[in-house]
């Protein structure tokens, strides 16, 4: 573990240097007010200043929207050979906020559990992550502090905290991080803990939105409110378009489809993002749908974040408070509002 104090310029130069040698991804502005983790090229601008969480979280680099699982070919005798298609290329994701870092840590948990997911783990092992701490809430949608993800640093190989104007505390947290920072000539930091505490205490309080109840109580209320009018209230405006699932850093459900090539002998099996808010997600062949109503789907999504997965993995909330689902919902249905309504429903 090494600690440095670097200037913004030093850090950017370093990132650009890494980008020249590796596939490196960094949030880049696109559209009017959105960001996207793009591959950094010689012409890209590295902007460490404020950016709101990207449209799609950096998890996309570990679980792509569409990813090939198997490739097959049948020979003339009718024998089919099947091969897994794994991506083990090395990449660096830089500028990952704490909420997204926690998202990645949770994905690590989900994909390692039970039957380990080779595709995820192969990518994950070959991915270096450079985290970046937030000193102010990114916008009014986020509520990372409310779900304990503001100070999440686990999963980062290098973690950067702006400590005071112009100075950045660079924590090198893993041996991979050491490799990435080998040869940097930054100033060593002697008092990292004090500096970090300084940065943390300088943050505004409260930091972004917070629930009207402490997190453990909040989670219990969500679990208890299986029957609630709140589930019906918000879905009146819901299109079942799945945006909230697809942009969430802790949603990982997928669909599997096969594709045959025109030679009729080869092809592939791939998986792609799916979402429990999509109307047919829980429909079985023959037509029975276990969550046919939008309200049932909404309840399932919220419970997955606050009850089901936390129980399954004995973990805190699985929502990291990035605010993406509310920010990007076509109808601005906000999970924060839903949970708040659940909390307030009884107390009125």
């Amino acid at each position: 573990m090494s600690y440095y104090l670097a200037t913004k310029k030093e850090l950017i130069d370093w990132i650009q240097r890494l980008a020249a040698e590796n596939q490196l991804y960094f949030p880049e502005k696109h559209g009017e007010a959105s960001y996207r983790f793009n591959r950094v090229g010689p012409k890209s601008e590295i902007q460490f200043d404020r950016y709101i969480p990207t449209v799609v979280p950096p998890v996309k680099l570990l679980v792509p929207a569409r990813e090939e699982l198997l490739r097959f070919r049948t020979d003339a005798e009718g024998k089919t050979e099947v091969q897994p298609s794994l991506d083990t290329s090395f990449r660096v994701i830089a500028g990952v906020r704490s909420c997204d870092l926690k998202g990645i840590s949770l994905m690590d948990l989900f994909f390692k559990d039970g039957v380990p997911d080779a595709y995820y783990l192969a990518r994950r092992e070959n991915t270096a992550i450079i985290g970046y701490s937030c000193n102010t809430p990114c916008d009014e949608s986020a509520f990372c502090a409310a779900v304990d993800s503001l100070d999440h640093t686990e999963g980062a190989d290098v973690y950067v905290t702006p400590v005071k104007e112009g100075d950045l505390l660079v924590e090198v947290k893993t041996s991979l991080g050491e490799k990435l920072t080998a040869g940097v000539d930054w100033k060593k930091c002697e008092d990292p803990e004090a500096r970090r505490i300084g940065a943390v205490t300088a943050r505004p309080e409260p930091f972004g939105r917070s629930f009207p109840a402490p997190l453990p109580d909040t989670m219990k209320i969500v679990a208890d409110k299986y029957q609630s009018a709140v589930w019906e209230k918000h879905v009146k405006r819901c299109f079942s378009c799945g945006t909230c699932n697809l942009v969430c850093p802790t949603c990982y459900c997928f669909d599997v489809v096969d594709d045959l090539n025109l030679d009729a002998a080869s092809g592939n099996r791939s998986r792609s993002w799916d979402g429990c808010m999509l109307p047919h997600f829980a429909e079985v062949s023959g037509g029975h749908n276990f969550r046919a109503e939008p309200a049932a789907r909404q309840r399932h999504r919220v419970n997955r974040k606050f009850t089901y997965l936390p129980e399954k993995y004995e973990h805190g909330a699985v929502c990291v408070g990035c605010g993406r689902c509310g920010r990007q919902c076509t109808s601005h249905i906000d999970i924060f509002d839903i949970v708040t309504d659940l909390i307030q429903e009884g107390s009125r």
Partner: protein, 258 residues
């Protein structure tokens, strides 16, 4: 035996047939797998029976009805090719104006009178109502969009060759849009038909900086009330909301309803 495949067209821009001719990379491969027996845009031949008939275009006149019934009777599997055949497309907007008025405004008084009074002309030109083909005959599969998506066409062809049904997930365009990491145009104060529109187009219009206008038709589960409400919140006048819904979907229940 290779399946006998035929293409037919009714009122349309013929762009969907062109979209198939535009699959240059795979066109020859596909032609090796099927027996193309009718394709008026590129062939002179005709045939009596078809395993798969692709029908482009919307139905307008009595003679169109006769022809589509005949095609249906001679085909085992019938595919509605493109927005005109699937949902009626832009021309269905003229359903909201009396045919005689349409004739009058475009061709003048004389034409209007002839269309109105002369029964012979009425038969020939009767522009009764623009309808998708499933208003007349059973359709086995829909290739949506204006124009169709080559990937979906390919999926359909492969599925039929495999002896199974193609499957097009009934998900909103927003799904494609998210997979493409687009900034939602709602963020820019524009409105989009994406949330109520049948996806699968790769949100191509939004990728190019436009909005979705709904060329693939509305989803079975579309929350139209909420969508209209959303447009109103964006200060879109009810007249323009109706116009948006009738841009591509004038022949759909939704286009007629708003």
């Amino acid at each position: 035996m290779k399946p006998k495949v035929a293409f037919f067209d009714f009122s349309s821009c013929e762009g969907c047939q062109l979209a198939i001719l535009n699959c240059e990379d795979i066109l020859l491969d596909i032609l090796n797998l099927v027996d193309l027996v009718e394709f008026r845009m590129a062939l002179t031949e005709t045939a009596p029976r078809y395993d798969v008939a692709f029908v482009e275009g919307s139905i307008h006149r009595d003679e169109d009805i006769e022809r589509i019934l005949d095609i249906r009777a001679r085909s085992t599997y019938l595919v509605a090719l493109g927005a005109c055949a699937c949902i009626g497309n832009v021309q269905a907007r003229s359903n909201f104006v009396a045919p005689a008025v349409n004739y009058g405004e475009i061709y003048g008084e004389e034409a209007r009178n002839r269309v109105q009074v002369d029964p012979d002309y009425w038969d020939l030109w009767s522009h009764t109502r623009v309808r998708p083909i499933d208003a007349i005959v059973k359709v086995d599969a829909y290739l949506r969009g204006c124009p169709i998506v080559p990937r979906e066409f390919l999926h359909l062809v492969k599925s039929l060759l495999q002896g199974t049904q193609p499957f097009f997930p009934p998900n909103a365009v927003c799904v494609d849009c998210k997979m493409n990491e687009n900034e939602c145009v709602l963020e820019r104060g524009l409105t989009c038909m994406g949330p109520v529109t049948w996806g699968g187009c790769d949100s191509i219009c939004i990728n190019s900086g436009y909005v979705c206008d709904g060329c693939r038709g509305t989803l079975p589960h579309a929350n139209v009330e909420a969508h209209i409400e959303l447009m109103r919140e964006h200060n879109i006048d009810d007249r323009d909301i109706r116009s948006r819904y009738r841009l591509f979907m004038g022949a759909e229940p939704i286009g007629r309803g708003v």
